[in-house]
């Protein structure tokens, strides 16, 4: 399959990208790494008249590691995170990055592109929601922020309004004593997840948060998950599987064996959190 004919332009700045997007009035699509949009174009599921390439905009490719938060420009590649060139202050990020797709895809695919594509099976939405990240969105004039946990509004649907661009992602750095676990179940290396789950336990900040992805829609995020572990230390043994099943059901997930996979993923993430510290 070949795409329908389209024009393409490399935007030099965020302002230019915003202007082009506005002027095109719905006929344009932003392209970052092209790893999700490319297939959509080839399958003719996406039929834009204009592609606005934002991957070269300096503002969108910078990453800043500060003491309390990591800021990733939306066009930072998954490979940059895997290699520790971005987000190095939060070890879980590199762990997540290393299991997204294949290296060739990670070299081009971006963290922001993944969030905006909002594929239910993607890894970044689950992982960043568990870390309590938020995204900064610009309409070319003003900026607003949205928590990653609420950014995807459905399968392949986000809180982005027409003309808006995701500029950067802010991830709070967990405290030294925090523990985390990330589990991605796949049939083979490099595939999309059958189930993915993250657990963050940060006692100093009073955080016990979980996220479960690869559901039908956006990830299930439980901001205070202490109850799921009976109020005690997290771990597979302590997990209240019945309660989690109920939550997943209410979230609109699948039943049967698929549900069991999500529960297993979370149980294992909890076990890893019990074993892995965020900084050593």
């Amino acid at each position: 399959m070949k795409p329908v004919a389209f024009e393409t332009v490399r935007a030099a700045s965020l302002a230019e990208a915003s202007r082009l997007l506005r002027e095109a009035g719905g006929g344009a699509k932003l392209v970052a790494g092209g790893q999700s949009l490319g297939p959509m174009l080839n399958l003719r599921l996406a039929r834009p008249r204009l592609l606005i390439d934002v991957a070269g905009i300096a503002e969108l490719t910078v990453a800043v590691d500060a003491a309390d938060q990591v800021v990733l420009g939306s066009c930072v590649t998954t490979a940059a995170v895997e290699d520790g060139r971005a987000g190095d202050a939060i070890p879980m990020l590199a762990e997540v990055a290393g299991h997204v797709a294949y290296r060739a895809v990670r070299n081009r695919g971006t963290v922001g592109g993944s969030l905006c594509h909002a594929d239910p099976a993607a890894d970044w939405p689950t992982a960043l929601a568990a870390l309590g990240a938020d995204v900064i969105i610009s309409d070319g004039r003003t900026e607003r922020s949205v928590p990653v946990a609420g950014f995807a509004t459905g399968a392949f649907e986000t809180a982005l309004a027409p003309g808006e661009i995701l500029v950067r992602i802010r991830v709070p750095v967990p405290s030294h004593s925090a523990a985390w676990g990330w589990v991605k179940l796949t049939r083979k290396a490099g595939e999309f997840a059958l189930a993915n789950a993250a657990v963050l336990v940060d006692h100093e900040r009073g955080i016990c948060r979980i996220a479960i992805g690869a559901l039908r829609g956006p990830p299930l995020v439980v901001g205070d998950a202490r109850g799921l572990f009976g109020g005690g230390p997290v771990g597979a043994g302590a997990l209240d599987r019945v309660a989690l099943n109920r939550l997943l059901g209410a979230h609109g997930g699948d039943g049967g064996t698929e549900r069991a996979l999500h529960v297993t993923a979370l149980a294992r993430a909890a076990d890893r959190a019990a074993a892995v510290r965020s900084r050593t």
Binding site: K2, V4, R44, R187, G190, F192, G256, T257, E258
Partner: protein, 780 residues
């Protein structure tokens, strides 16, 4: 042994261009003025097609069945009695019978523009209920794929050999029901063709990614009403076939017609979406198989009902009958028993026509019979390999004619099992199982043993009713003016390395330096007619023909060489690129110079056929060669995720004398990976309307490097008594054993949970569902 002769692991000649990106595939051919073709394909599985409407501004660029006046449909006629003929129109007319069936061809300057056109073609159809399941297709109320048949059965065959009341009353009766999924073959290179008129040769030239150039030549000529000689087929480098390119494609006929009609070159390259969406065309079988055995697990007989989902049409040249007939004749496997009954049917459904994929019927057959063997082992409480040892044909019985009259040409089947069992370390695995795994996974070991009939001869294939039956494979050997050797063969390498192995054969016979032998193939203009490369036949038959042509050429060279030395030919020998007597020698180059440039020096009674010979291969028996193998695998199964990891894989293979052991190992490994795909990953399911549910590689999982362990290939060598050099066909075995071995291993692992799975692929859903069901039944 010469360093480049038979038995040497010579590096592949063709790899130099492949590895440097200089291969010449269809897509690499450039002919000025070429326009691209995109096909409009059926969006539905079953419908009455009322009209195909091209936009009005598209005259001369969109072509439908109405345009193809006089073009004949594809008809694969078989000699089997009772076979119902299907007539496959080149572009759909009257009815649509499967999703992806070609309906119209659109021609434009680029593929993207051709696809723009295709989008605008409207199909007016009335959808009909689809037949998507081969068993449901047999019900009296099933919709009919071909109304004129009255049912949906291409052919049903019945074998009944030696079944007695005593066998039916045997103390052990093990029945298994097994289903295999529909798969895509997925060669790296898809299909593709480029067609143009050659006014100088007065022919239509079709450059096509095919395994069988002469068959395509015949087929295209027949459909277009041209003499065979007016069609030239060039099959350049082909990036994998596995059976996927072993047919006459409708697309090839359309391209031929377009080139003839429009007068400019046209090209079509299949893309991944077309491959997945229109061509999930192999492997789908269903078996209910019962083994009858005594209390020691000695097999007394087999009773089987087998179905092959053959899809909507019978493909040329293999036909829809082939696979079901093979199944019936191959179920007995490598085992020694004398009572056999089998009913096998090829059933028409609203899916793409089935094609024989590497291993063909044997992959499913092996799974079915090995499941029975495992069942017997469970029943009598012995190691599964022990049951195999008790039932395999023993070396002292060789050569052995089995219950179906298959003539096993030699080997030690039990020893293959013993070596595979030792190599995988069954005892150590049993000890490990009792210890348990710290990560909660369950370990299992599985085994599959089979024999692989290859290089099937004329009588075998005639009995399977193939519309095109191969005969005496031929080769042309020619000494050039400078004493180099040119070999031309009608077989076609699509990854097997024939440029290397046929040169090794020629070198073995004549001693011409390996580097000075050129093997040419893949062009009907200059190669001998052949049904080409399929069925693990090329080395035995093509290689046999090369050897014979070289031997005769050697005689002619010897006669000239001896004359040049003033010697008696009876005192001369040929080898090392020279003709020798006890005291003198002349090089082939000197002989060639005499023949081509200085004929005044030739003997007066010289054979004026000169230094070019066409000769054919005649097997001592044409019942085929029988390679055999034992596959052993150790897996870890996670009962909480249903994920299977292969920890170790051993193949013990006896392919007779191996012309190039390195290439054979590559064949075995590649095939094994495909078999792992069948066993664990690959399936295209169809919804109730007959829509294939995999449209990208996200939905269709192929095994990748990370999913395959180092496959350990071990060898035994029992030369075939019937072939040149004792070679046997071994191209397919790798793909036969893995599903059976994997099912056996996964069941071994899950045995403590009371789970026994049948059928493939063993994806996590299937495993989890079985584990959940077993838990529910034990807690109930």
């Amino acid at each position: 042994m010469s360093a480049t002769g038979v038995g040497a692991s010579v590096a592949r000649t063709e790899d130099d261009r492949f590895l440097r990106g200089r291969g010449q595939y269809v897509a690499d051919w450039r002919v000025p003025g070429t326009r691209e073709v995109a096909f409009v394909r059926s969006p539905v599985a079953h419908a009455r097609l009322r009209a195909v409407r091209a936009p009005e501004d598209c005259a001369g660029t969109v072509f439908t069945a109405a345009d193809l006046r006089g073009v004949k449909p594809v008809r694969a006629i078989t000699s089997i009695k009772g076979f119902k003929l299907s007539s496959e129109p080149i572009l759909a007319t009257g009815k649509l019978r499967f999703v992806g069936e070609v309906v119209a061809a659109c021609v434009a300057a680029t593929r993207a523009e051709a696809e723009d056109l295709a989008e605008r073609v409207e199909l007016d159809y009335e959808e009909l209920p689809a037949v998507t399941d081969m068993l449901a297709a047999r019900r009296p109320d099933a919709p009919l794929v071909h109304e004129e048949w009255g049912d949906n059965v291409f052919i049903e065959t019945v074998e009944d050999r030696g079944m007695t009341e005593a066998v039916l009353a045997a103390p052990l009766k093990i029945t298994r029901e097994i289903r295999t999924a529909r798969q895509c073959m997925f060669p790296m290179e898809g299909r593709g063709a480029l067609a143009f008129r050659d006014d100088r040769l007065r022919c239509l030239t079709l450059v096509s990614a095919t395994q069988m150039p002469h068959i395509v030549q015949l087929g295209v000529a027949d459909c277009l009403g041209l003499p065979d000689s007016a069609v030239r087929v060039i099959s350049p480098d082909v990036g994998g076939g596995f059976g996927y390119k072993g047919l006459l494609c409708r697309e090839e006929v359309v391209l031929g017609w377009l080139a003839q009609t429009l007068g400019h070159p046209v090209r079509w390259l299949e893309d991944c979406r077309e491959h997945l969406g229109a061509n999930a065309n192999c492997r789908e079988h269903h078996y209910v198989v019962t083994g009858f055995a005594d209390r020691d697990g000695r097999l007394l007989g087999i009773d089987c009902v087998a179905h092959v989902d053959a899809g909507a049409y019978s493909v040329y040249p293999t036909s829809a009958a082939l696979e079901a007939s093979m199944v019936a004749s191959l179920i007995p496997g490598p085992y020694d028993f004398r009572a056999y009954r089998c009913r096998s049917a090829a059933v028409a459904t609203n899916k793409c026509p089935i094609l024989p994929y590497r291993g063909v019927g044997r992959t499913g057959v092996c799974l079915a019979i090995e499941a029975v063997m495992d069942g017997i082992a469970r029943e009598i409480g012995v190691e599964p390999y022990e049951v195999r040892l008790r039932n395999l044909v023993r070396p002292e019985q060789m050569p052995y004619d089995n219950v179906m009259g298959r003539h096993f040409d030699g080997g030690d089947y039990p020893e293959a099992v013993r070596r595979a069992v030792a190599a995988i370390g069954v005892e150590a695995i049993r000890a490990r199982q009792t210890r348990g795994e710290s990560d909660g996974r369950l370990i299992g070991v599985g085994l599959a043993v089979f024999c692989e009939q290859g290089a099937h001869g004329t009588t075998v294939l005639a009995s399977w009713g193939r519309p095109v039956v191969p005969g005496y494979e031929q080769a042309i050997a020619r000494l050039t003016v400078d004493g180099d050797l040119e070999i031309r063969v009608g077989t076609h390498s699509h990854g097997q390395g024939h440029e290397t192995t046929f040169a090794q054969v020629a070198h073995e016979v004549l001693g011409v330096p390996f580097a000075r032998i050129r093997v040419m193939q893949g062009d009907t203009l200059y190669t001998p007619f052949s049904t080409a490369t399929w069925g693990s036949r090329s080395m035995v038959m093509g290689g046999g023909a090369v050897a014979e042509a070289c031997r005769i050429l050697g005689e002619r060279i010897k006669a000239i060489g001896a004359w040049l030395m003033q010697a008696d030919p009876a005192d001369a020998t040929v080898g090392d690129g020279c003709v020798r007597t006890a005291s003198a020698s002349v090089s082939f180059a000197e002989v060639a110079r005499a023949w081509y440039l200085q004929p005044q020096h030739l003997p007066p009674d010289v054979d004026t056929g000169g230094l070019e010979v066409t000769a054919g291969y005649r097997a001592k028996r044409d019942s085929g060669t029988f390679s055999y193998a034992a596959h052993a695998v150790c897996v870890a199964v996670d009962p909480e995720t249903g994920l299977v990891e292969i920890l170790d894989y051993v193949v013990l293979e006896d392919g007779g004398v191996l012309v190039n052991p390195m290439i054979v190992d590559g064949q075995v490994r590649g095939g094994t990976v495909q078999g792992i795909g069948t066993g664990l990953f690959e399936a295209v399911s169809f919804d109730a309307q007959g829509q294939p549910l995999a449209s990208t590689l996200v939905d269709y999982l192929l095994p990748g490097a990370g999913d395959v362990p180092e496959i350990r290939v071990l060898h035994m060598e029992t030369p075939s008594p019937n072939t040149t050099f004792g070679a046997k066909g071994i191209g397919e075995g790798g793909a036969i054993g893995p599903p059976a071995a994997l099912v056996s291993a996964v069941n071994d692992a899950l045995r403590p949970l009371g789970v026994e799975l049948q059928g493939v692929p063993l994806g996590p859903e299937r495993i989890l569902a079985a584990v959940a069901a077993a838990r529910a039944s034990t807690s109930a």
